[in-house]
């Protein structure tokens, strides 16, 4: 019984980390209809940025997350305004292809700049665990979980309750009407994309404390984020949290009861099932 409880806790905490990773992708996809295949590469960049802040500037990695997020926001804004805005009105999968090209470029530049060796973010207080009865609670993952909840709620409030959030959603839904009301769509698109990349950067900083950073982690993280976004549903930021938790628990249980090599079968199998049976996701409104 103890083992099962531990595995469930593991799964929930893993789910929190997953949710943070997927939040940026789901935002950009759900609101702007831009499918960003380079999402994982931005997580990787955020990880390196946090690493430099921690190792060179001695900034605490958790407190330094906002810095990473802001810098990555700037990068995202410039990228959208300068490059991605050029293809927004083309058939949807052109953004798929162009972001794939971006992913290749970013990964190679990272390899040239940082070399292929791995970096870890190792704050001395966060490597261990808190012991609660028979359950060990890894500190770093617990913090990541907390950040996930905070960011998800923050996103939900932002998109549904603030003026800027509503303007973003309105622009994405009806470009002409938005223009008529004096909204500058290019700026808003860039702000939204920047937000998505900022979230990815923050996820990278967290990822570096629980795992390691090297230029090639991007692709697998993108695939995972896709699964989580779809399973949870693109309409609602809370869906990402649900999707992440669901996937984290399923993977942990699969590893225990079936075998570690079946974790991917479970995640992508469920993704497929959701797509076929309920494409709008667990929390999405049925179309």
């Amino acid at each position: 019984m103890d083992l099962l409880s531990q595995i469930l806790v593991n799964g929930i905490l893993l789910g929190g980390l997953y949710a943070v990773m997927a939040l940026g992708l789901a935002l950009v996809w759900g609101v702007l209809n831009i499918v960003n295949l380079a999402h994982g590469a931005f997580i990787m960049l955020g990880g390196y940025l946090s690493w430099y802040l921690f190792t060179v500037a001695h900034v605490d990695p958790f407190l330094g997350l906002p810095i990473t997020a802001v810098v990555m926001f700037g990068l995202g804004y410039v990228l959208q305004r300068g490059l991605l805005n050029l293809v927004v009105k083309a058939p949807m999968f052109n953004t798929l292809l162009i972001t794939f090209g971006l992913e290749v470029v970013i990964t190679y530049l990272a390899q040239l700049a940082f070399s292929a060796d791995f970096r870890t973010i190792n704050p001395p207080y966060a490597g261990g665990s808190w012991q609660i009865g028979p359950i060990a609670l890894p500190i770093a993952r617990f913090v990541a979980f907390g950040v996930a909840i905070a960011l998800t709620l923050g996103m939900w409030v932002f998109l549904l309750r603030t003026r800027l959030g509503r303007a973003i959603r309105a622009t994405a839904q009806n470009l002409v009407a938005a223009r008529l009301y004096g909204v500058e769509p290019r700026h808003l698109y860039a702000v939204t994309f920047g937000l998505g990349i900022g979230l990815a950067g923050a996820a990278g900083g967290l990822y570096g404390t629980v795992s390691q950073i090297n230029p090639y982690i991007g692709a697998a993280l993108t695939a995972k984020s896709f699964a989580i976004s779809i399973i949870g549903g693109l309409d609602n930021p809370l869906g990402v949290l649900v999707g992440g938790l669901f996937l984290g628990v399923v993977e942990s249980l699969t590893t225990l009861y079936i075998g570690p090599t079946f974790a991917d079968v479970a995640s992508f199998g469920i993704l497929l099932l959701v797509l076929v049976v309920r494409p709008s996701g667990l929390l999405g409104r049925t179309a």
Partner: protein, 315 residues
């Protein structure tokens, strides 16, 4: 005019067929690789270019074809031909069974579903003992690049001819109707489900044959290389670069991009991948309709053609 075009194509095929007798070993290997990629591109062209369903899962058929040959030859000691047929059967079964479920989805949901299929298949096969799990299978070596080259070329000719036939048939018009306006097509009496599954199956057959030839040529398959996910993006980019929904576009796209990639890999080597990524980004921005469209419109529009593309697609 058309007769001249056909004659030139025939001449091109003969020239390609003669390569193994004149080209260097390296070039023949490059040729086999480029030809197989062109077959994949043409396969994608059927479902993605003509039917408008952007599939990110054709790598599954490629992998099934590879493992069809691998399992048949290694585990059951069957000849190559049996392996190829087995691979095709696997592909057809897969396309018909899962295709029906997945083809109900539209747009990016279909793309993601096929991507998920690709991931699931990789994960499943790496657990199947018959397939050698993740360690893979080692096939009996056959030292005959000429045979593989001609096989690949023959396959490409068949695939391209099939597409040419499609452009002239009711089936093809049905596919294009589905791409342009699926609901309208259904109202007009097109059996959209049947046509879509047929297109998916056709794409699957060509892709699995390509995979089978590749497996025997390389003599070693494992889930990561057989179900290589990046192949999906490569075949799509090659088709789009050459011109999706055209007969020869994907072939040209495959040849040109393969050549660029290979030259970069042997000359600049370390930054090869970087340049390739830049080429992709630039191509999508400046020429999203592919080379075929450039060839058609450049004579009138000149350099303004590229600017027009950007203006049409930007926010």
């Amino acid at each position: 005019m058309k007769r001249l075009g056909l004659a030139l194509v025939a001449l091109g095929v003969v020239a390609l067929a003669a390569v193994p007798w004149f080209g260097s070993d390296t070039f023949i290997q490059f040729g086999i690789n480029a030809l197989l990629l062109a077959v994949l591109a043409q396969g994608w062209n059927i479902i993605g270019g003509y039917a408008g369903y952007a599939s990110f899962g054709n790598s599954v058929f490629y992998g099934l074809g590879s493992y069809g040959v691998g399992i048949a030859m290694v585990q059951w000691q069957q000849p190559f031909g049996v392996g190829l047929a087995f691979g095709v059967v696997l592909g057809v079964v897969f396309a018909c069974s899962l295709g029906v479920a997945v083809l109900r989805l539209k747009g990016h949901y279909f793309a993601i579903a096929t991507l998920a299929l690709a991931q699931v298949m990789t994960a499943i096969v790496s657990n199947v003992k018959l397939a050698g799990q993740n360690v893979g299978l080692v096939l009996p070596p056959l030292n005959n690049d000429r045979l593989f080259y001609e096989l690949a070329l023959a396959l490409l000719v068949v695939a391209t001819s099939t597409i040419w036939w499609i452009t002239r048939s009711r089936f093809g018009f049905g596919l294009i109707a589905i791409r342009e306006n699926e609901e309208g097509a259904a109202v007009m009496g097109v059996n959209t489900t049947l046509y879509k599954v047929l297109a998916f199956t056709l794409a699957g057959i060509f892709s699995s044959l390509a995979g089978g030839i590749h497996a025997y040529w390389v003599t070693f398959i494992d889930p990561e290389s057989a179900f290589d996910i990046t192949l999906n993006v490569k075949m799509i980019i090659m088709t789009v670069f050459g011109g999706a929904g055209t007969v020869l576009g994907p072939v040209v796209g495959a040849f040109v991009l393969s050549a660029i990639s290979e030259i970069l890999s042997s000359e600049v080597t370390t930054i090869a991948g970087l340049f390739f990524g830049i080429v992709i980004v630039a191509a999508i921005v400046f020429m999203p309709r592919g080379l075929a469209d450039i060839v058609r419109r450049f004579p009138q529009a000149g350099w303004r053609y590229f600017k027009q593309n950007i203006q049409a697609n930007r926010l």
